[in-house]
């Protein structure tokens, strides 16, 4: 485990934290949206470093986490079919459905393949014309350009043995769902950096204006997150609410226009169910009619039953920033990364899995084990 004082940039980090402290006059709740940011915050103890009045809550930006159980069961049903080569990103392999995971299916003789890029599926489909090749196309906007290109090329090349099982989700509708939910606590957002490298920052303007909430598009490195937090706190303290771009060295207001164009050609926006949260209107991509012969949901008659999630799991409240992993009685007892009960434990980018991976389940109520006993602090660091 690395702690922030090991960083080459620790002096700058301390300056930013000081500036946040000087700016603060009251408590604020800020949500980081992206799972990569959550991972970075927990790994580096950034939330411990911030003044106690700034609470970071962890958002829904982990695509593996929010893929609904029905969709995972549907994927597994297709993967079990004879004559099917089922392709997936590696992150999805260990996510359990109602009966086992993709690894289990592979071990029982299913042809399950991990791909680095969706384009790998083109190669597999060309090389196996007698088989049906199905790709599990999950992701946020960052992944949409790649998945859109796969569908586009499948149609262009008339690769009629290639289809996509699409479970794509979009960030802006999720932010609106969080802000509109009863009991919402989130007062500002650290927006998702690499999502905006594709989509730009424009689509966040209406949300910021409508809900009067600061949205600062932020990177995932510790200094990025600290700076993004400072920019958010400055807005909150001065009563402003606008979209700012902390990550301007990577992205701009427009995003990647060529990618946006192909996404719009291949996908249409429609309702999408999010694991732990439920259906959010207009929150996902679906293949357009012109791509119907590459749409696995239409090609394979695998009506999945709607499985029940364990009642004890509070991942929905965690994904909305209402609760933290330690509020859950099952956290690290009944529910572990090896036997996850819900969304926030199934992928390393989920809040519960990140807390578990960095040993936070061992400290009571998620308290900071480093800054509690000052005399021991030096020893703890020396032993790391």
């Amino acid at each position: 485990m690395k702690y922030l004082d090991e960083y080459r940039d620790r002096k700058i980090a301390a300056q930013i934290v000081d500036e946040i402290r000087r700016t603060l006059t009251r408590p604020w709740v800020v949500m980081e949206v992206c799972g990569g940011q959550t991972h970075s915050i927990v790994k580096n103890g950034i939330d411990y470093l911030l003044p106690a009045a700034v609470e970071l809550v962890h958002g829904p930006g982990c695509p593996v986490c929010v893929t609904p159980l029905e969709m995972i069961d549907k994927a597994h049903a297709i993967a079990r079919l004879p004559n099917v080569i089922f392709c997936s990103f590696g992150d999805m392999l260990r996510v359990p459905g109602s009966e086992g995971d993709l690894f289990t299916i592979k071990s029982l003789g299913g042809d399950v393949r991990v791909v680095y890029s969706p384009l790998d599926c083109l190669k597999i489909a060309r090389a196996n014309p007698e088989k049906q090749v199905v790709f599990f196309a999950i992701g946020f906007e960052t992944t949409a350009p790649a998945n859109a290109m796969l569908a586009w090329r499948a149609r262009e090349e008339s690769l009629n043995n290639l289809s996509l099982l699409v479970s794509h989700v979009l960030v802006p509708p999720a932010l609106e769902a969080i802000l509109e939910a009863p009991g919402n606590r989130v007062q500002g957002f650290l927006g998702p950096g690499h999502v905006c490298a594709v989509m730009g920052t424009r689509e966040y303007d209406p949300i910021s204006a409508r809900y009067h909430v600061p949205i600062v598009i932020t990177g995932f490195e510790p200094l990025d997150i600290l700076q993004g937090t400072l920019m958010t706190i400055r807005q909150l303290e001065s009563g402003r609410a606008t979209v700012e771009n902390q990550y301007s060295r990577i992205l701009n207001r427009e995003g990647n226009l060529a990618a946006q164009k192909l996404i719009a050609t291949v996908f249409k926006v429609g309702d999408r169910k999010w694991r732990g949260i439920g259906t959010i209107p207009s929150s996902g991509y679906h293949l357009r009619e012109e791509f119907a012969r590459h749409d696995a949901e239409k090609l394979f008659d695998v009506d999945a039953i709607a499985p029940q999630e364990p009642e004890i799991c509070i991942s929905g409240a965690i994904l909305r920033g209402l609760k933290k992993p330690h509020d859950c009685p099952a956290f690290a007892t009944l529910c572990t990364p090896q036997r996850p009960l819900g969304a926030t434990m199934v992928s390393a980018e989920g809040a519960c899995a990140a807390y578990y991976a960095y040993g936070r389940h061992l400290s009571p109520h998620g308290s900071d084990p480093y800054h509690q006993a000052n005399s021991e602090t030096e020893d703890v660091h020396a032993n790391r």
């Binding site: 695509p63 992150d91 384009l119 190669k123 090389a127 960052t142 992944t143 090329r153 594709v198 990577i250």
Partner: protein, 104 residues
Amino acid sequence: MCLAIPGKVLSTFDQHGLRMAKVQFGGVVREACLEYVPEVQAGEYVLVHVGFALSRIDEAEAERTYQALRELGQLTELETPVNDEHDERAQFVPVKVDPGGDGR
């Protein structure tokens, strides 16, 4: 899995009508599609997500972001086996001495 990884474009080529590149990430060379950043040339740095270059970035930023991802253990997608119809394997080139020299 929404993080993109910076790499250096070594060479560009055409593959079934798509503009592609060999891109170097630390010690690993993989293919990436350049259709969304058509202006990019060999020698430049790009941000790559699941085999697609999404934007062009400068060398210093590429190095910084790559190291940050490595510290976060977020480079596992690069270890995915290569699926190639011509049976080309991922080419491993000798890992360079860490130019960051940050003493980790």
